[in-house]
């Protein structure tokens, strides 16, 4: 496997170390190395690397650049809310802080190129400089000239610099209208099931054998592989659930080799994880706590989602229920309506039923429901006298709400009559 990484421009033992740090990615690393060439040679002005999340793009780049000690600047486009941050980061990495400080208040691309040119004429690149941009799809949302300019940066600054863009979106969705300098496209394929098994098994716990952990990973992949192939997510799930897997072993009930019993113990637990932790309905901390009190309390998990966390005042709940009924019941079923979607009149029904005075505070709660995005406004902003709203919650949610006020909403819904 280490045979793949060979290049006359770099020391063999360094390449060996790189190969060890990049399991299952030797082919891609080799490809990148051959494109990069000798450190002092120039490379193609821009390279676009695409592939699924957690397919090793950033990892391979970082390992290569750090281990081989090549001059580089890594920028995450998520952090660069303004282009100034991007320019600063690049100038800082290549020329130090005095170059970065030369940038004016809100620098334009013109300023950046000018300062870069100044400095690279003083300190020309002895080795190819690399600028790695992660989450490059966000560059599409910045100024229209930034992406095309970055792709031809080598030409604009007249220096031995190469831009490497990393993204999970394909290049076809990046191309500007009038075209641009086309980068070299490189694909990082997804890990196969076997490769995932190999990589995940490397995280083995010191107090258990490698085969034991391997069998655990096998079971985990069996449950989750058809739904998720993201290495990061799988590692997270593996780390969270391992203690539960080892529980019967720790309690002395089974031996390491009793795979069937271990499977029976962990499988329902993993299934529940799919509905909660995987969906981020429950935080990892809550999950770990839950595992400890599993046997004693099988209460419902207090999820993270809006469903269980919204606490509405009493009248707001009724307003919401009224809104739901008004939105989903056809108008003709209630002869008291003469405006189709406006549900203000529905409130009268409840007001009459529960003898509550329709005060302004009741109606102000409508606007707070809109802020919570439980209602959406469908009328124009200029129609102040008859605003129209629509209910934006699901059936489950409204059933949960109506249960808390002892109101049987099913009896009032047209579709259920």
């Amino acid at each position: 496997m280490t045979k793949m990484l060979q290049h006359s421009g770099y020391e063999e033992e360094r390449l060996q170390r790189v190969a060890e740090l990049l399991p299952c990615r030797e082919v891609q690393a080799g490809m990148l190395l051959s494109l990069m060439g000798q450190p002092q040679q120039c490379s193609y002005p821009s390279i676009f690397i695409y592939g699924h999340r957690a397919s090793g793009k950033s990892h391979v780049m970082q390992v290569l650049l750090k281990e081989l000690e090549l001059p580089h600047a890594t920028v995450s486009c998520v952090e660069c809310v303004s282009v100034a941050l991007l320019f600063e980061q690049v100038l800082l990495s290549f020329f130090g802080c005095d170059a970065a400080s030369l940038l004016p208040r809100s620098p334009s691309l013109s300023d950046f190129v000018r300062i870069y040119r100044q400095h690279c004429s003083q300190t020309p690149a002895k080795q190819t400089r690399y600028i790695v941009m992660e989450k490059a799809e966000l560059l599409r949302d910045t100024d229209a000239n930034l992406l095309p300019a970055l792709l031809r940066l080598q030409e604009l600054v007249d220096d031995n610099v190469t831009i490497i863009l990393l993204s999970e979106i394909v290049w076809d969705k990046f191309r500007p209208n009038t075209g641009c300098f086309e980068p070299l496209l490189l694909h990082f394929p997804d890990y196969s099931k076997g490769e995932l098994q190999q990589i995940l098994s490397q995280d083995k716990h010191p107090s258990y054998s490698a085969e034991f952990y391997s069998s655990y990973i096998n079971i985990l992949l069996g449950v989750f592989y058809s739904v998720c192939r993201d290495l990061r997510e799988l590692r997270h799930l593996a780390a969270l659930n391992f203690s539960k897997f080892c529980e019967p072993l720790a309690e002395g009930k089974v031996k390491e080799t009793d795979t069937h019993k271990l499977w029976r113990n962990i499988e329902p637990h993993l299934k529940k994880a799919m509905q909660t932790v995987y969906l981020r309905e429950v935080s990892s901390l809550q999950w770990e706590q839950l595992q400890q009190m599993e046997e004693r309390e099988c209460g419902a998990l207090r999820g993270l989602s809006a469903h269980t966390h919204v606490e509405l005042p009493y009248y707001s709940k009724f307003l919401l229920i009224a809104a739901y009924l008004a939105s989903y019941n056809p108008a003709r079923t209630d002869k008291r309506f003469f405006l189709k979607t406006c549900f203000s009149y529905k409130i009268n029904k409840f007001v009459v039923d529960s003898r509550v005075a329709p005060t302004a505070s009741i109606f102000s709660q409508i606007s707070s429901l809109v802020t919570l995005q439980l209602l959406t406004k469908v009328s124009h902003d200029d129609q102040l006298d008859a605003p129209k709203y629509k209910c934006a919650v699901s059936m489950d949610f409204i059933c949960a709400i109506s249960r808390t006020v002892n109101f049987e909403i099913i009896k009032y819904l047209y579709d259920f009559l």
Binding site: L35, H52, F181, L279
Partner: protein, 432 residues
Amino acid sequence: MIICIIGFIDVQVQDILRERFCRQQLPDRLEGVEAQHKHLLELLKRTAVHGESNSVLIVGPRGAGKTMLLKCVLRDLLEEKEAQKNLLQVHLNGLLQTDDRIALKEITRQLHLENVVGDKVFGSFAENLAFLLEALKKGDRSSSRPVLFVLDEFDLFAHHKNQTLLYNLFDVSQSAQAPVAVVGITCRLDVLELLEKRVKSRFSHRQIHLLSNPTFPQYLERVRTQLSLPDRFPDQEFCQDWNDGTLCEDKSVQDVLQKHFNSSKDFRSLHMLLMLCLSRVSVSRPAIRPADLLEASRLCFTDSKANMLHGLSILELCLIIAMKHLNDVYEGEPFNLQMVHNEFKKFLQRKSNSMYNFEQPVIMKAFEHLQQLELIRPVDSTAAKTQREYQLMRLMLDHSQIMEALQKYPQCPTDVKQWAMSSTELKETFWM
């Protein structure tokens, strides 16, 4: 001993060819554009030597060699002593100088007149430009030195407010203020439509087109030239062997080059292909073989979306198949998650596949992942008004891409494959 020599040679080859493919090194002579070269050289000579003002646009698709043409012409121009002594150059780029204020600052800087301008404030752009050109006069002669303005990405300057820079530059080139040559480089063939009437009238309407249309044998010759090593290569024997290589005579290589020729004839895509071949040259293989070219071509023509489909989970793939069925039945009408889920449930019921019976939120997460990959896109961007499950989406893949991806998908379950192919048969029988 021999290994050392070979080891050194592959580095030398890489050095030379990388300069050519990556750094766009100027060749000694440009092929196929002799007429354009002559025309441009004449024009610029008239400005640089005889003090005549001119304007011209170099128009051609991306990668046609416009910048290279200009650079070659400049190189030849500056061989004339007088031109070299007098000509001043200002290079502007539409991508960098995004508005006229920045452009003016850049012009000042490139003419080295920052100190002369100092803190002066000008009433208008025209005033400022006139001042700069006047300042050039106070050299040794009574008349101003000739200035060459090169405007790369010329079409972007046409989007500036009032096209002030363009108006003023062309105005100067028409009046007898100073000998000025304005050369615009653009990829837009309709560039004149972008100019305002008053700007267009001051432009000389001189255009140099680089719309070369080589025949396939000419293209093959171009490949050979691009790959050949120059005479000044240190190891003459190796150079001879390399240049005499029969790579371009190989049948499979010619087929591959024909495919590239059919898709685009420009230099840039050729350089990309040759760069990929070059990267495979190493100590152990100091030559480009047909297999290298085939592999490089395969990389160039690979379908990116198909590659991404290969990495989807089974659940996500099933959702895509469900969307495909919806597209087939409803002829491309947009769908939402609920509709896709219902379609998926039909598959589950038919085959009693409890294996894929996931909860709605899990399916939602898979659906969201597809949205993040931009394989599906919302129909309108105002997505906030409706609930996520009911937002209408469109699939950004076509039928053949999905079917091809299914064939290549690793360990695709047979029932999923059958489901994908089934409804087309059903549809056909129905319409018969």
